[in-house]
């Protein structure tokens, strides 16, 4: 069960000819795939393309009607390998992932695919996770496209354009026997917009047709001598075919006047911000009527030399707007223009930032410099442009910089991973600091405050593998952390199998929260909920034992901090050799709440006896030390000031968002912190027995309390 239900979005997939789709671009892409007649779709979830996977997961009915096979692939390599169905058969297929990380994983399969070439259209939807809001290393997918020779589409951020490019992309792929990549940036994926739909297309040639009449061609398999021939094919046939297709179908666009002193060449994805920056300079209106010639590269690889030449000839200078580095396009532009002996000056990263988002602000600065040098008259009387610098220089704003605290992401309220790291922090206090190899997933938040645990992270599912060098410890053992998502992505073999085989003496902690949580709560092999279309309930414990692990401990309730501590301590101190594997399991709280809350609410409404729990702090018992927070970081655990002149520090407080996971109490008990926490069990629709018990107990308690109150010396603290 994904983090949210996509039932509403699924209905969008049914829209027919002439109807208007309104929504996120990544969903428009999903609809575009069905309109283009895909036979199969695969991929691996991750921001910003998770929604594509989630919607298709929930759209099994529609997919069934259209004969589309959709898979949540085990990892990106699996997804890329899936495209091999298009090698011999006229089947259109698409896969999607977060890039560059996903492309890294997939690149072996992609290189093979691109070498032999394809018959049916093969497309990779690339969620380019670059710039603000990105969760990964800052790299470009562009290099992968070039090195394997896959065409890279970078359409203008406009729903109709993107959807059109899915169709065109498949045609291009088929016309040039080359897989294509469709690159969409983070903001574009999550961009709301609209487009006019077409009917979905049921592929004429089906997967069954392929299976029933298999085809084979030794020339398509990457093995010498065919591999050498593939390279020649790429150069002699596929590239020229692609260039012809792109030119004939006008995939790249020209805007503005035909002639001009200067011109701008841009990646399609940069178009909207470029127009806005030009607008600020008085060189365009809001509707894209530009006074500057623009050449928009909706295809950024391959470049069309003749188009570049025609655009640049008779211009004094051209500016290349290319987000990210290295500046592959700018370099290529130089080669093209020098070869054809066009004298236009080439600007790019000399006036624009080398790395980072090409925000309107960044472009504006670059454009000003470009026009100032090459066409100052175009800037006219230089109307004032938006500029926040004077405001940012004001003293109170300067002062604010030192006041506003960082707000890093953290584990959710009630997260089952919190007690694991609290236990780990406590164990380290007793046994000293250890080397901790972290992995990708929610659990990576352990590296941030308040836990500050984790020394490296090397990629999804590679937490265990990245402790490999420390396999022969004689002193302190290494600890490797890995989530269930990473475990099934590749960690079982790359991490655990490797550790078993190489007799690694370290500790391997597998965080099992029943879902691939960080990417939106998708089901995986070890998910515990039944799934109609997938086989779940395959325990991690069985897998690690199956691969040869012998020291395996399973903690079935991570909130049992005491047990977590004992197991971790045992793993770090036991005399037994070989990998010490701990599987810590509790359901992702975000998903659990989504699952349980409606059921509970219904039960309460129907008069069923329901107990809900939440935690609280006795403010007069709390001394304001905040040690509990340093072992928690729960969003619902905060601090508040008391109206008491005798108190210096704010005390702990728990707000209404508490889900009663138990971490606070367990931690303060295990760490022997303080007795301030209490758990309140709220009984909805109490039974007569509950009421009777409460009434009699409270009568007794009330008698005792009244007795003591009578003897108390009382003075109001305030006169």
């Amino acid at each position: 069960m994904a983090e949210r239900s996509f039932a509403k979005e699924v209905e969008h997939l049914r829209l027919g000819e002439g109807e208007v789709f309104k929504g996120e671009a990544i969903l428009a892409i999903t609809k575009g795939l069905l309109q283009a007649g895909v036979s199969y779709v695969g991929g691996y979830q991750g921001s910003p393309i998770s929604h594509l996977m989630d919607v298709l997961s929930d759209a099994q009915d529609i997919l069934g009607e259209l004969g589309v096979n959709f898979q949540s692939s085990a990892n990106e390599a699996t997804a890329a390998a899936m495209l091999s169905a298009s090698v011999m058969y006229p089947l259109r297929g698409a896969v999607a992932w977060k890039s560059t990380v996903g492309t890294n994983v997939a690149s072996d399969a992609l290189a093979n695919l691109a070498s032999g070439g394809v018959t049916g259209g093969a497309m990779v939807i690339i969620g380019e996770d670059y710039g603000e809001g990105s969760s990964i290393m800052q790299e470009r997918t562009h290099a992968f496209a070039m090195k394997s020779q896959m065409w890279l589409l970078d359409p203008r951020p406009d729903h109709a354009q993107i959807v059109d490019f899915i169709e065109k992309g498949f045609e291009l792929s088929e016309a040039s026997n080359t897989p294509v990549m469709l690159e969409v940036r983070v903001r574009t994926c999550h961009m709301h917009g609209s487009f006019v739909c077409k009917d979905n297309v049921r592929p004429a040639y089906t997967l069954d047709d392929a299976l029933n009449t298999p085809r084979r061609d030794l020339g398509r398999i990457v093995l010498p001598p065919a591999a050498y021939e593939h390279e020649q094919e790429k150069i002699r046939h596929r590239l020229p075919a692609a260039i012809n297709f792109i030119r004939e179908n006008k995939l790249n666009e020209f805007f503005g006047p035909d002639e001009g002193k200067v011109g701008i060449i841009l990646q399609g994805g940069m178009y909207n911000n470029v127009i806005r920056a030009l607008q600020y300079l008085g060189l365009s209106d809001a509707y894209g009527n530009t006074k500057v010639p623009l050449y928009v590269l909706n295809v950024t690889y391959p470049l069309i030399d003749s188009e570049i030449e025609a655009f640049s000839r008779n211009k004094d200078a051209v500016l290349m707007v290319e987000e990210g580095q290295p500046e592959y396009l700018e370099q290529a532009l130089n080669t093209v223009l020098r070869r054809c002996n066009v004298a236009a000056r080439i600007h790019g990263k000399d006036v624009l930032p080398m790395g980072g988002d090409y925000s309107v602000e960044a472009l504006l600065g670059g454009f000003e410099a470009f026009f100032e040098t090459n066409d100052p008259r175009a800037l006219g009387n230089r109307p004032p442009r938006p500029d926040a610098r004077p405001v940012l220089a004001l003293a109170p704003v300067e002062h604010l910089k030192s006041v506003v605290p960082a707000r890093p992401p953290g584990l959710c309220t009630g997260c089952p991973e919190r007690p694991i790291f609290a236990a780990m922090k406590m164990v380290q206090e007793e046994l000293g600091e250890h080397h901790v190899s972290a992995d990708i997933g929610c659990h990576l938040f352990s590296i941030l405050p308040p836990f500050n645990l984790g020394n490296t992270t090397m990629g999804f599912g590679l937490g265990a593998a990245s402790a490999s060098a420390f396999s022969r410890s004689t002193g302190k053992r290494s600890i490797a952390v890995m989530g269930d998502g990473g475990f099934w992505h590749n960690g079982l073999t790359s991490g655990i199998g490797n550790a078993v085989y190489n007799k690694h003496d370290g500790v391997f902690l597998i965080v099992d929260n029943f879902y691939s949580s960080a990417t939106g709560g998708q089901d995986i092999l070890s998910s515990r909920a039944p799934n109609k279309t997938r086989k779940t309930n395959n325990p991690i414990g069985k897998a690690v034992r199956g691969i040869g692990a012998t020291w395996v401990r399973e903690v079935d309730r991570t909130y049992d901090v005491g047990k977590m501590k004992r197991v971790l301590t045992e793993a770090l101190t036991t005399k037994e050799k070989g990998p010490k594997i701990i599987i810590a399991s509790s359901e992702c709280m975000l998903n659990k709440q989504r699952r349980v809350r409606p059921l509970e609410a219904r039960a309460v409404k129907n008069g069923v006896r329901v107990i809900k729990q939440r935690f609280g702090v006795d403010e007069d018992v709390c001394t304001g030390d905040h040690a509990c927070i340093r072992l928690s970081g729960c969003p619902s655990l905060s601090v508040k000031h008391l109206d008491d002149p005798l108190r210096d520090d704010p005390v702990a407080a728990i707000d209404n968002s508490c889900v009663g996971c138990g971490n606070c109490g367990e931690v303060s008990e295990a760490a022997v912190l303080c007795p301030s926490f209490y758990r309140a069990d709220i009984i909805h629709n109490p039974s007569w027995w509950d009421k009777f018990k409460a009434k009699s107990a409270l009568a007794f308690i009330g008698f005792l309390q009244a007795r003591r109150d009578r003897r108390r010396v009382v003075l109001e603290a305030v006169a």
Partner: protein, 523 residues
């Protein structure tokens, strides 16, 4: 605003097509309703036939981190849709909506709040960042700095506690922010259009509309001014209605009023109240006598010119030292009659519901031995094996069902041991500590008044339970040892303050050991 006026020539707009879209940035914490609000604003514009585009960068920020959503809207012209930007441009944002007060500050730092253009709509409530919460001692950011910055950066601001308003009507903050946006009258849509958008959502419509309307009304009342309400509101302590003062207590209060200067009286009274509440009348007398002794020193040193700082701080910290946290105190607080009522309020208990509480306690032998009479306690401390044997039986986590008769009676009995507290080992230890501390104060203050005050404040280091308490005592020892060494210096008070502040944060950004080394290098 310094700009070269020569380049600021008026440029007449070339027609409606050169207009800019209306831009709205929503700064929020992930999972806090920013996405819902963004969707509503887009729907609002689309319903009116406008073109609207929103972008967001969810990614990891959706897990409680700071994030930003951005909306642009504009009408189509002659069949051409406007080209809308994908991120806010500093200096060119019409409306910034902040779902939390510090996030409003962060938006100012992004440069998207500027005096020519921006209306800032922000909720004044604070949701503390992890660094603010986990800091030992006080770590909460100064909201006043945000208020100051808003005053000079926003063209207009609408600020009130939208979170509280939403909670009051049983809905979420997005409805309140939407209402404030409507009240700002920047978007050319009637209020009915806003209502229609909320209705179209289909979930919790009634509550959402109620919050929307309340926020709309609230924003209209003070749309032109910043409401200075940002600091976390201190929670009023619930007190039972005052009964007439017991005569012996009244006598004690009279004595306090006679012997303690007016300036220190409120603190002394709070201290006296706490001490009485903690133990008994005699303890109150002891408190006052101790405080009076310090005050005499203060008078001798002409402390009046310094606002009787010594007496004032002594009133506070002597009370805190006397009301040390022990098992009896905890049991007493947990069994009080007002407590159950307070918890009921906190959890929002309804009349048809019941509740029970479970306490998470981890008593250790250290606490138990503190309870017993001095000689028995000392005997136990000497006999390691007996001590260890008992510790094994006592030291474990215990879940105490407070309001079950058995457990309550146990806690009640423990609380009743208050009568024997004075004879306990813990009390002897605490009293000795107090005497040593105040003696040092008496010794050092005459030569350096400010140092004496700082020394009094060092009691702040000791608080908490078990290990936390032990660490506090050790820090206190190290800090006061250093203070003794540098007492002769003229700037001793300054160093004492630095020592104390560093000790509070020791291990969490503070390095007491390092500071001590530095001091020893010159002192």
């Amino acid at each position: 605003m310094i700009r070269n006026e020569t380049v600021k020539l008026p440029l007449a707009p070339g027609g409606p097509a050169t207009e800019r879209p209306i831009s709205i940035a929503i700064v929020a914490m992930g999972g806090q309703g920013g996405g819902v609000l963004t969707g509503w604003i887009v729907k609002l514009a689309e319903d009116a036939g406008w073109v609207a585009q929103s972008t967001s960068v969810p990614g990891v920020a959706q897990r409680t981190g700071a994030t930003i959503y951005y909306v642009e809207m504009m009408q189509a012209s002659g069949g051409r849709s406007p080209i809308l930007a994908q991120m806010p441009t500093p200096g060119d944002v019409d409306v910034v909506i902040a779902s939390e007060f510090i996030e409003a500050g962060r938006s100012i730092l992004r440069g998207i709040v500027t005096p020519e253009r921006t209306t800032l709509i922000a909720s004044s409530h604070r949701s503390l960042a992890i660094g603010e919460k986990s800091a030992p001692g006080k770590g909460i950011a100064d909201s006043g700095a945000v208020t100051d910055a808003i005053g000079i950066t926003a063209k207009r601001s609408i600020i009130f506690d939208m979170n509280a308003l939403a909670a009051k009507h049983g809905s979420v903050i997005s409805s309140a922010m939407f209402g404030a946006l409507a009240a700002a009258e920047i978007l050319p849509f009637p209020i009915e259009a806003y209502h229609a958008v909320i209705r179209g959502d289909g979930k919790g419509v009634t509550a959402s509309i109620a919050v929307f309307d309340a926020a709309f009304a609230r924003a209209n009342n003070n749309a032109e001014n910043v409401t200075p309400l940002p600091d976390p509101v201190p929670t009023k302590q619930v007190r039972s209605p005052s009964a007439p003062m017991q005569p012996r207590v009244a006598a004690l209060v009279e004595r306090l009023q006679a012997s303690i200067p007016l300036k220190a009286q409120p603190m002394a009274r709070a201290g006296l109240a706490k001490v009485l509440d903690y133990q008994d009348l005699d303890y109150g007398v002891e408190y006052l006598t101790t405080l009076e002794a310090i005050h005499r020193i203060d008078v001798e040193l002409k402390g009046e010119s310094k606002g009787f700082a010594l007496t004032l701080n002594a009133a506070k910290y002597i009370a805190n030292a006397m009301t040390y946290d022990d098992v009896i105190r905890v049991a007493d607080l947990k069994t009080r009659s007002a407590r159950r009522q307070r918890i009921g309020d906190e959890i929002g208990l309804r009349p048809d519901q019941l509740f029970e509480t479970t306490e998470y306690m981890h008593p250790r032998m250290e606490e138990m031995v503190g309870l017993v009479p001095v000689r028995l306690g000392e005997w136990l401390m000497r006999h390691e094996r007996v001590y260890a044997w008992l510790d094994r039986r006592i030291s474990k986590g215990r879940r105490v069902r407070t309001y079950s008769p058995g457990w309550f009676l146990m806690l009640y009995t423990l609380a009743g041991m208050r009568r024997m507290r004075r004879a306990s080992l813990r009390h002897a230890t605490e009293t000795a500590h107090r005497h040593d501390w105040l003696k040092l104060v008496a010794d050092l203050t005459p030569s350096n008044y400010a140092l004496g005050v700082e020394l009094v404040k060092c009691q702040r280091l000791i608080k908490g339970y078990s290990d936390t308490h032990a660490r506090g005592v050790s820090k206190f020892g190290r800090v006061t040892d250093e203070i003794k060494l540098l007492a002769h210096r003229e700037d001793a008070a300054d160093w004492a303050r630095r020592l104390r502040e560093t000790a509070i944060r020791d291990g969490e950004g503070g390095d007491l050991e390092g500071l001590i080394k530095t001091i020893r290098s010159f002192a």
